[in-house]
């Protein structure tokens, strides 16, 4: 009851200075709207750019690096021989070369089963990488075909974001289908439905039907990389079902990646690399952009705060009589302070709420501005992040600024000595 009374007095006083109050509220409105629009836009752009790396990269990649054996068999024999006291012996065999199916992950199917049962793992996508030649007329063009599980690849690594033509389902359902890199396809002058001839390094030839085009925005990549299903590539290489060269793992929690990569490397006896090691520097840009948007918004809000401070000071000066009589008739200093802080908060809340709406509208507008981005062919307008965190922070900012801006004039009002005012008349 008491608070409602004070609130009623606040809003009545506000009506006395309606125009200036609206101007002050508009200041808050603009700063909040700008903050929301700016943050949404900045972060949309940030996550788009981060996504270029983050979305395409598995959190952990298990593979088998081709390397010579650490210890040549002959050296073992020599150690044994030396231990027998025959120090003079020497051999000329430098090393045994890597051989056979080294590129494949051993026991890949077993490892995949184990990974699927790990609760920390969001999902896994197997990959078979193959170096191939495309026969174009009389010449041959180098290429690489990646055998993937299209559905998992799309779920975990956003494969469809980079498809300019064709769909994930078409790739999955077409036997011997292939998605060509855009640059490679242009070079070969093939269209959807055409058949291309692929030769593996071992010399096996296969005919593959083009079902889509892929564009990552990186020319070197688009001129070489192609995608087909795991089984198509296994057939192409004439390898069995368990021939998998990479196991790509996505985790629920990205930060666990380095530790888990070490764990898997030890547990499965494979090489494992985590995303942080693979891409160390990309977070810096996002942090800088975030700081800029916060600084701009805080500056706007401080300006709005000064506006409110001014108006309240003016209002208090004008309303000294009212303050004096309120105090004479039994309102305490605290009551008077509450009245003026309420006044400031009403301006802040009204301005802030309109600001929320305006900010949201601005976001919608930005979201509709055309934007061509080579690296992400599916993106056609500017990206906007509609994270509810920004409106929340915005309205909190507005409340805090208006409270602080209202506090000092309100304290001054609460200290008005009614005797001085009344005797002065």
């Amino acid at each position: 009851m008491a608070f409602r009374l004070l609130l009623g007095i606040s809003s009545t006083l506000l009506r006395a200075r309606l125009r200036q109050s609206i101007v002050a509220a508009v200041g808050v409105t603009f700063s909040i709207a700008m903050y929301i629009a700016l943050s949404g836009f900045m972060n949309g752009l940030n996550s788009l750019l981060d996504g270029l790396i983050l979305n395409r990269t598995p959190h952990i990649r298990l593979y088998n690096e081709i390397r010579p054996v650490d210890e040549q068999p002959l050296e073992r024999a020599f150690d044994h021989y030396s231990a027998g006291g025959n120090a003079e012996a020497h051999h000329f065999i430098s090393r045994i070369k890597p051989k056979g199916d080294e590129a494949r992950v051993r026991n890949a199917l077993g490892i995949m089963d184990a990974l699927r049962k790990d609760p920390r793992v969001l999902g896994i996508a197997p990959k078979v990488a193959a170096q191939v030649m495309f026969n174009v007329g009389t010449i041959e063009v180098n290429g690489a075909v990646n055998g993937i599980d299209p559905k998992e690849e799309d779920r975990l690594l956003h494969f469809s974001d980079y498809l300019v033509q064709g769909t994930v389902a078409q790739l999955a359902n077409t036997g011997n289908g292939i998605v060509l890199g855009k640059g490679l396809a242009d070079k070969m002058q093939v269209g959807l439905g055409d058949v291309v001839q692929v030769t593996s390094i071992q010399g096996d030839r296969t005919m593959l039907k083009v079902v889509g085009f892929y564009q990552s925005g990186m020319a070197d990549f688009d001129n070489v990389q192609c995608f087909a299903t795991v089984s198509t590539v296994q057939n192409l290489l004439v390898r069995p079902r368990n021939y998998i060269t990479d196991i790509q793992v996505r985790l629920h929690d990205l930060t666990l990646a380095p530790a888990m990569a070490r764990e898997y490397a030890a547990r499965f006896g494979v090489d494992a690399i985590d995303i942080q090691t693979a891409n160390a520097q990309f977070e810096t840009g996002s942090a800088v952009r975030n700081i800029i948007s916060y600084v701009v918004s805080i500056v706007l809000l401080v300006v709005a705060g000064f506006g409110i401070y001014n108006i309240l000071n003016m209002l208090i000066y004008e309303k000294l009589d009212s303050i004096a009589i309120l105090k004479a008739t039994g309102f305490s200093g605290g009551d008077v302070r509450t009245i003026f802080i309420n006044l400031s908060l009403i301006i802040g809340i009204c301005g802030g709420l309109v600001g929320l709406a305006l900010g949201w509208l601005l976001q919608l507008v930005i979201d509709r501005i055309p934007f061509k981005f080579e690296a992400l062919p599916t993106v056609t307008t500017y990206p906007v992040d509609y994270d509810p965190m920004y409106p929340t922070i915005g309205i909190l900012f507005a409340l805090i600024t208006t409270f602080v801006a209202g506090w000092f004039p309100a304290r001054k009002a609460s200290q008005v000595d009614p005797v001085e005012i009344i005797r002065g008349k």
Partner: protein, 228 residues
């Protein structure tokens, strides 16, 4: 006067002004106002009568001596406590009306009542209308405070002072801004408040006619009460 029932009482109240030079404006004033008494304080300009009234009003706390209201020692109480006491026990009428122009006449009157919270809004409005009716301005109740005449404003201010049934009504030059006709109306109202409701009134005034209609005239000179 010791056989009465004092509403307000001062014991050796002294007051100094320090600006521009230290000067004693009240010199050990002892004053008792009884319940139901209608008293006026008169004296030359600068004799300290207004200063005394503001000390009695509890708004001025910078004095020496003791102040009692309704048997309770007021001196040294916290500002919040004093606000509460003013709200409940003292009504004020000043030379200027001090109505809040953004509120209606009725809202201006019931504001102190809403603060006290003893009566509901509806009851307060009814009481306010009663006061306005006895002063002959009930038809103006819904108007904004700045839309009525000066004499009416002063009557509204009196109604506001009465809304919480105060023990004592303190008035500082209540007719100072009014023409003779409106002054006469205000004088009549005061007389009626005193005689019909047996409320205490303490009026500081220059107006000899107003003073002459009070039950007791307290004359001050140079910070002292010289006759009462």
């Amino acid at each position: 006067m010791s056989n009465g029932d004092p509403v307000i009482e001062t014991r050796k109240v002294s007051k100094y002004f320090h600006d521009p030079v230290t000067a004693q404006v009240l010199k050990e004033v002892d004053l008792v106002v009884q319940r139901g008494e209608y008293a006026s304080i008169v004296g030359k300009s600068g004799c300290g009568k207004s200063t005394l009234m503001y000390i009695l009003s509890t708004m001025d706390t910078d004095y020496e001596g003791e102040l009692f209201l309704d048997g309770e020692r007021i001196t040294g109480l916290s500002n919040d406590r004093l606000s509460r006491i003013r709200n409940e026990k003292i009504g004020f009428v000043f030379q200027f009306h001090y109505l809040i122009s953004e509120f209606s006449v009725l809202d201006n009157i019931i504001l102190p009542g809403l603060k006290l919270g003893r009566f509901s809004r509806a009851e307060l409005e009814e009481r306010a209308m009663g006061h306005l009716r006895t002063m002959g301005i009930d038809h103006q109740a819904r108007k904004m405070a700045n839309q009525i005449s000066g004499g009416e404003k002063q009557r509204v201010a009196i109604a506001r002072a009465l809304i919480n049934d105060p023990l004592i009504l303190m008035c500082d030059e209540p007719t100072g801004n009014l023409d003779s006709r409106n002054s006469a109306i205000v004088e009549d109202i005061f007389k009626r408040i005193s005689s019909e409701h047996h409320r205490s009134l303490l009026v500081v005034t220059h107006d000899d006619e107003l003073a002459s209609r009070t039950d007791r005239i307290i004359t001050m000179d140079d910070g002292r009460i010289v006759a009462s």
